[in-house]
């Protein structure tokens, strides 16, 4: 045994090659709140990684005339004044490999799930220039979230950036988790970046994904609430670096930043400690660039450049529904649309609490499959009209028949679009339900029985409209024959359904 140890140690030492070269070295002048002011390091680049004598790493952010402001990624309490700091000549990189799937890592790519270290094949820089125009391609493939209201009214395409915005406790993370759960078998890798969240919440989320069998294609990057602001600041960039690793293999990736409000707050903290001048709401002047350079890395690359895509779901938490605050307006303007969640709707029992009027998807409609477009085409308008009429009907005045019909249809539409958490619906089932709704088959079903009707109809149609289902699955569209069959199946089902 001892021979074996000596032998393997000898082999290891033989493999060790030492390279002696001049290094750029600085000295710590002061350390406070996760920040170090360092003298020397005259040739350092912005965002370059530095190492401290105790092994901690840092990133140079402020390059001043005589000093460098470094954010410390780790425990800063062990760094002392006068400690040596070495420049590495590299932009901060994180280790990536296929075996990262199913794992929980921190902002610098170190596993924190207790399942041992992750074998890294490569390293990817966390800061990278977004793919250029020539390498890109328009959005044309859908990201199916399994959430009816999103897939029908606010469709999302691969490579799109769709903001999820709303107050606390309105179901923002729930939408993201449902979207991840629904990617099973859809050839999509998911990266969930948790920024400044409680560890208990993250643990629950991980357990839910494991339960749904979704961790196999998911990576969680976590910068917890108890970690330094620097970790929260770099976590989204690490997440997108992991996403880029998979995109470079031609794969489609869905990345969720939960949430960018906390990210901006972490960056504000760092900026103020670095004595950068504060601007609106005390955020630094480059807070727009902070998010735009991150979200611009979401894209769909054309086949000539290897294909693959990164779809981004940034999440923003508003305060009392104020979407005109600094960070929400910034991110709204950067993204290709937003899903707006409202507390009022949530407490009315309309869940997901998506305000269809304020939510929009600017590019997703070109990614929506034809069949869905056909059934959901007028749904947004119908719902908007319903909301207007609903407010009007509160006055209790006599309403004409067509208005009454619109109101009744609207009530049923709202009911159909309600959905339980962790219960994504298949596209073909969504189409059947929406077809029945928009063609008026649900008009004489009482609102209380809509959910029951929907569940049983889906089940019945699957058995009795096989041509329709086959056509949807294969060509994403139906023929007259398929539609006829579906119509007949709905009519047959309805005649036996107890209203």
């Amino acid at each position: 045994m001892s021979n074996y140890i000596v032998e393997s140690l000898r082999k290891e030492i033989e493999a060790f090659k030492i390279e002696i070269k001049t290094e750029k070295v600085g000295r710590v002048l002061e350390v406070f709140d996760g920040i170090a002011k360092v003298s020397g390091l005259s040739d350092i680049k912005s965002s370059e990684m530095v190492t401290f004598s105790n092994g901690e790493i840092g990133v140079a952010l402020n390059l001043e005339e005589d000093t460098v402001g470094v954010i410390i990624l780790g425990d800063f309490s062990k760094i002392k004044e006068g400690d040596e700091v070495k420049a590495t000549g590299k932009i901060l990189e994180i280790p990536v490999s296929d075996s990262i799937l199913g794992r929980v890592v921190n902002a610098i790519g170190v596993s924190i799930d207790g399942k041992g270290t992750i074998k890294a094949g490569k390293t990817y820089p966390i800061e990278r220039v977004a793919p250029g125009v020539v390498t890109r391609q328009g959005v044309s493939e859908p990201v199916v979230t399994g959430i009816k209201v999103i897939d029908a009214i606010i469709p999302i395409g691969r490579g799109q950036r769709e903001l999820i915005i709303g107050d606390r406790q309105t179901g923002k993370t729930a939408i993201a988790i449902d979207a991840i759960l629904n990617q099973k078998g859809q050839n999509m890798i998911c990266v969930y970046v948790s920024i400044g969240q409680k560890d208990s919440k993250l643990r629950k989320l991980q357990a839910r994904l494991e339960q749904g069998g979704s961790m196999n294609y998911t990576v969680i990057v976590s910068a917890g609430a108890s970690e330094a602001a620097a970790m929260s600041y770099i976590a989204p960039y690490s997440g997108v670096a992991i996403a880029e690793y998979f995109m470079d293999q031609g794969k489609d990736v869905l990345i969720i930043y939960d949430d960018l409000s906390k990210h901006a707050v972490a960056y504000r903290e760092i900026s103020l400690l670095l004595r950068r001048p504060p601007g609106r709401e005390a955020y630094p002047g480059d807070v727009f660039y902070l998010h735009s350079r991150l979200l611009e890395r979401a894209c769909r690359r054309n086949a000539k450049y290897g294909g693959g895509s990164i779809t981004a779901f940034p999440i923003i938490e508003t305060q009392a529904g104020d979407i005109s605050a600094y960070i929400p307006t910034n991110v709204i303007s950067i993204t290709d649309g937003q899903i707006f969640l409202e507390t009022d709707l949530f407490y009315k029992g309309i869940r997901p609490a998506i305000n269809v009027g304020s939510s929009v998807s600017r590019v997703g409609s070109s990614a929506q499959i034809k069949a869905m477009k056909k059934v959901a085409g007028t749904l947004k308008l119908d719902l908007a009209q319903f909301r207007e009429l609903e407010a009007f009907s509160q006055f209790g005045s006599d309403l004409d028949d067509s208005t009454k019909r619109q109101l009744e249809r609207g009530k049923r539409a709202v009911e159909v679009l309600k959905q339980l958490q962790y219960a994504p619906v298949k596209t073909e089932h969504q189409i059947v339900t929406l077809y029945a709704l928009t063609k008026g088959f649900m008009d004489d079903i009482s609102v209380a029985k809509i959910k029951e009707f929907e569940a049983e109809l889906v089940d019945y149609s699957e058995r009795n409209a096989k041509i329709f289902y086959k056509e949807i699955k294969e060509s994403k569209m139906w023929t007259e024959k398929g539609e006829e069959q579906l119509k007949k199946a709905i009519e047959d089902f309805k005649s036996n359904f107890v209203k």
Binding site: I13, I20, E23, K24, V25, E65, T117
Partner: protein
Amino acid sequence: MSKIFPKNVAEAIYEATEGKSGTLLALTLHRGARMLHDKRILGKSNEILKALQNIFDKKTGTVRVKITTAKNMESRERKKIENEIKEKYKAPIVISEFFEKEELLGGMRIEVGDEVLDTSYRSKLQKLENFLRQEK
């Protein structure tokens, strides 16, 4: 009013004293010290002197070197190192300081400004330790 940095004061002192000698130089320096007193920045005199030294080194092409070894070096060896540095940095003047530090175990550590060439055994052993600790 903008803040006065030690570097600005050092530049001002250098410009004011450049080319002066004797009584005139003494008078200028006296006035400089008075100004530091009046502006209440005498406490920063160490930083100002350091900045002044940097300016002077830059103008004269002086290179300051710190050489640390485990054991005392012979003057022949010292001379050789100084000549190497003179050649590498193309510096007309090299001012070297020699230190002894047993912890280095062997080899030497040469520091020029923020550039460090560390060939000490201690640093090599440290690198070996890091290499062996690495996940493979």
